[in-house]
Amino acid sequence: MPHDTTITTPRSGRTTVDSSVVAKATSAHRKRRATVWAIRLALVAGWLVSWELTATYWIDPFFYSKPSAVWQRLVEWFTVGTSQGSIWEQIEVTLQEAVLGFALGALAGVVLGILLGRSRLLAEICAPFIKAANAVPRIVLAALFVLWFGLGMTSKVATAFVLVFFAVFFNAFQGAREVDRNLVNNARVLGASRLRVLTSIVVPSATSWILASLHIAFGFALIGAVVGEFTGASKGLGLLINRSQNMYDAPGIYAGMIVITVIALLAEWLLSVLEKRLLRWRPQAGGTEVRV
C-alpha cells in the first residue's frame, strides 16, 4: 500500500465525531431550513394578501386583477376548459413546440459550437457573421416565421430554435476552446486519433459549459414558442394569453403566465437531474457533510 493514502471521503470524518455533536449540528441545520421556508411562505402570503386587499379597495381589479380571480380562472380552465378548448391541449401544443425547438437548437448549437471551438480558421472566418446574427433582435423573427411557415407548429419551432441555438452555441464554443491543452496532448501521446480526442476529451470537457447553457435555453425555447403563438397561431398557451388580452381578461393573462412558469420550473428540475447524473464525477461542494 502507498503511504499517501489520504482519501477524503465525506463519511470518514463523521465516525470519529461524538454522536451527540452530530445530532446537535443536524438539528441546528434543520431549524435553519425551517426558518428559511417559514419566511419564504410569509413573503408569498404577504404579497398575495396585500394584492388582494389593494385590488379590492383601492385600484381597479379590471386591469390589475387579483389573486382570487386568477385562481378562479385557473380552476375554470382546468375543470371546464378555455375559450380555445381543453387547457391540456394548449399545454401540449406549446410544450411540443418548445421541446422540438429546444432539441434541434441545442443539437445544432453544440455541434457547431464544438466545431468552431476546435477549428481556429473556421472560427476566424465565421466570427463577424455570428456576431451580426447574434445582434439581430431575434424575437422579431417570429413575425417573419409566421409569414414563411404559416400559423402551424413550424413557425413556433423555428422561433424557439433561433433563440436556443445562440445560447447553446456560445457556451459550447467557449467550452470547446477552453479545453485543457495538457489533456489533449496527453490523449494524443497515449494514441488517440483526432476523432477520439474530440469525443473523449473535448466533448466531456465542454459538457459542464453546455449543461449550464441548457438551463437558460429551455426558458428561451418556451419564450420562443409562446411569442410565436402570440404573433399568430391556432392553438397554444401564447394564443390563450393573446385572446385574454383582446378580451380585456387580466386574470386570464396571469393564469397563462402561471401555467408557463410551472412548466419552466418542471423542465428546470428535469435538467438538474440530468446534470447531476452527467457530472457525478465532479466534487460536490459541501457534500453530505454536516456543518458544525
Partner: protein, 269 residues
Amino acid sequence: MTPDPVIELRNATKRFRASSGGVHTAVRDLTMTVRGGAFVAVVGPTGCGKSTTLSLVSGLEPPSEGVVLVRGEEVFCIPPGVGYMFQNDAVLPWRSVLDNVASGPRYRGSSRAEARDRARVWVERVGLAGFEGYYPHQLSGGMRKRVALAQTLVNEPEILLMDEPFSALDVQTRSLMQDELLRLWAGSDAAVVFVTHDLEEAIALADRVVVMTASPATVKASFDVALPRPRNVEEIRMTDEFLFVYREIWDSLREEVNRAREEASHRAA
C-alpha cells in the same frame, strides 16, 4: 537493448512567436542522443526550454530547424512507443482510476474488457489496488501521479519522457514516487528522459545528467553518474559518491542558474 541511440536530436532549434509579437527561441542548436534503456536526466535553470526539448521528441511540436530522430526515423507526428508524463496532472477528472489507466489501450484499439484487464494490472503495480473506482478528485496529489504513471506505462513505451512529473509533490511523497519510478523502470528496458530543475533528483535517478544552458537552451555538458543500482533515493543522497558527483555538476549548472536569474531580474526591471 539496442545499442543505437533511440533518440537523436541534431542541431534542433525551436522558435515560438512570442505574445509581444517578437520571436522567442526556446531551444537553440541542440544536439544530444539517448541510448536504448538509458535513464537520462536533463537539468537546467527554470524556464530554460527543457520542456520544449521533450515536445520535440514526442512529436507534439515540430522543430523550426534541425532534425529529431526516434529509433532512427525522423519525427513528423507522434512516434509509436513514446510515453509522456506531463508536469501538470493530465488525468481525466470524469473517468475513474481504472478507466483513466485504460485510456491508452482503448485509444490503441483494444476492447473495453481487454483494456480494463491491462489497466487493472498497472493500477496494482503502482500501488493503487482498491482505488480502481475512485475519481481523481477523491485522490491525493501523490495518488494522482500514480494514476498518471500507470496511464503512461500501460502502453509499455520504449521511450518515456517525463517533464518534472513530481515537482508539485511534497518532499516525502516525491522521494516515494522516485523510488517507485526506479522500481518500475528496472523491470522494463525503456529509455527515460527525465526533465527536472532539481539536481538532487536528477543524480539520484539517472545514469547520465545533461546540463542545459540558460534560455535559449542547448546542451552545456553531460556527466555520467556511476552510482550503483538498485538505488534508494533517500539514502543515496547521503553517500560520498553522490556528493562528489553533485559538486561536479553543480559547478557547471551554477553559472547557468545565475545567468537565468540575472536575465529574469533584467526583465522584471
